[in-house]
Amino acid sequence: MTSGFVIFGRLALAAGLICLCIAPFAFTPAVLVLLTQALSMLSLAMLWNLVAGYGNVMVIGQHAFVGIGAYAFYGFAMLAGLHMAVALPAAMAVTLAFGSMVYAMLYRLRTAYLAVGSWVVAETLMLVASRLPGFGGGSGASLPANLLRTFGARVPERLSTIYIMVLAVAVLTFVLIWALMRSRIGLGLAALRDNEEGAAVAGVNTRLVRAACFILAAPMVGLVGVLVTLQEGRISPVASFSMLDWTIYVLFIVVIGGLGSLEGPIIGTLVFFLLRELLQDYGTLYLITLGAISILIVLFAPTGLWGLARRKLGRDLIPLTHDPKTGGAS
């Protein structure tokens, strides 16, 4: 039996998606900017959740790939003068290459060592970025107006073009992860999330699956990095490689929402931006509140808000389960 709450939850998700689709026509530019940021964060949260929540690879250096995506895009589009349509996939390819290299360095590390190791790698890459010739050094560089004008002659048009791209990437990320989790490989990932030793003796190639999550998430994170660059109109080591924005906040979103679930990042993003809007006039109080909530969640609800709700509902909002009967409802 599908309970009323589950139907309500699914309707809310569908309504949310419809709102997001009509947003460029329905909302003011200010709201559109907020939604663009939220959807970028949602994509990053879904990807970090894939790597850390399902793959058990607890990295806190995801911001490196945002920065690499941004810098690679700038390099291809501005320094090499390539067309957008080439620069964008090329930037993703560079992030993929870095993802593979970083994983090769880190894959033997676990828990706190992995967290610290990935952080150190990310900080090192940021320092390298700040010394790259042609990228504006420590203060970064702006995208020229003619490049930005390819997204629209005037600011509102530009905002909606970039918004639509960000929405498309968020939807794509969601659909890819959902399809992955519905597949045989995703079943192995879910087992890995719950019990790594048990998964290995059930036949899950845990080494390969963990590597695949990490390495394949990297170019998607890089793509978000490109989109963030387009939103901001500039690259800089501090902003493009911002640990606070692209890792700490993302971690907060996933932990609050629920690590290792599809619903978690969505709920976490909603809560995060709600809190940000409510508390934005209070400065540090905002950060303190975020910290306090995270600590409470980790201590009392380690499966996050969605974990709490899931127990009450007894089933997922986004169906992932496999039924004993062929064609059975999920």
């Binding site: 045989r184 087992a191 030793e197 998964a199 290995a200 003796v201 059930a202 190639n205």
Partner: protein, 237 residues
């Protein structure tokens, strides 16, 4: 089928497995006895690849698997249960077994479904198939542990203390399941303290104490062995 030679596992100064030689023939049902802390579960961890040995070799059907990963060994036909169940708590009982039925074999989810349902039937878990593994009582968790191992279609099945805490009738039911598995030609190695249950299935017994095998033979000769009687005096008749 399985050939373990000069196997050692040391944790620092602690020599948990210290030169074990053991071979298991195809179709055999081997029982392993031994006091707590003797190294029995560690021996299984070495055979299944969850731990790598300090020294020695492990062969499966003549092939050296000493350094192989757990999932490669599963493909080679080794299935195991853990003494402390390792369920996938956020997955249903059906999905737990579906994992082992699809991952090693590469079978699709739809293809594996009938086989998973057959195993759940055999292990008396059909009525629980949609329950989350995290919500199961201990008895069902132990059944699930067996069902998960069977899902990999093992040729060699390693069972680590699956009869502990069962009532008499539950134990009888478990023995019936094991007889079915045995009759399908699966080789069984069973670590168990419940000796009266073990000797109903085992065709041979070995006793592990302090990292070494101290007895090896038919159930009658091993249970009559002076060293073994010494070890088990007052524990089992």
């Amino acid at each position: 089928m399985l050939e373990v030679s000069q196997l050692k596992k040391h944790f620092g100064a602690l020599k948990v497995i210290d030169g074990v030689n053991l071979s298991v023939a195809r179709g055999e049902a081997l029982g392993i006895l031994g006091p707590n802390g003797a190294g029995k579960s560690t021996l299984f961890n070495l055979i299944s690849g969850n731990l790598s040995p300090t020294a020695g070799t492990i062969r499966l059907n003549g092939e050296d698997i000493t350094r192989a990963s757990p999932w490669t060994r599963v493909r080679g036909g080794i299935g195991r249960t853990f003494q402390i169940p390792h369920p996938f708590v956020h997955l249903s009982v059906f999905e737990n077994v579906l994992v082992s039925a699809t991952q090693a074999s590469g079978r699709g989810i739809a293809v594996a479904r009938p086989e998973v349902n057959r195993i759940l039937d055999l292990c008396q878990l059909s009525h629980r198939s949609r329950t989350l593994a995290g919500d199961l009582p201990l008895l069902d968790l132990k059944r699930l542990e067996l069902a998960k191992a069977l899902g990999t279609s093992p040729r060699l099945l390693l069972l680590d203390e699956i009869a502990g805490g069962l009532t008499n009738s539950e134990c009888v039911a478990l023995l019936a399941i094991l007889e079915t598995i045995k009759s399908e030609g699966v080789t069984i190695v069973w670590i168990e303290h419940i000796v009266h249950a073990l000797i109903k299935v085992a065709t041979r017994l070995v006793v592990l104490a302090e990292g070494n095998l101290i007895a090896n033979g038919t159930p009658e000769t091993v249970m009559a062995d002076a060293k073994v009687r010494d070890l088990y005096l007052g524990v089992e008749a």
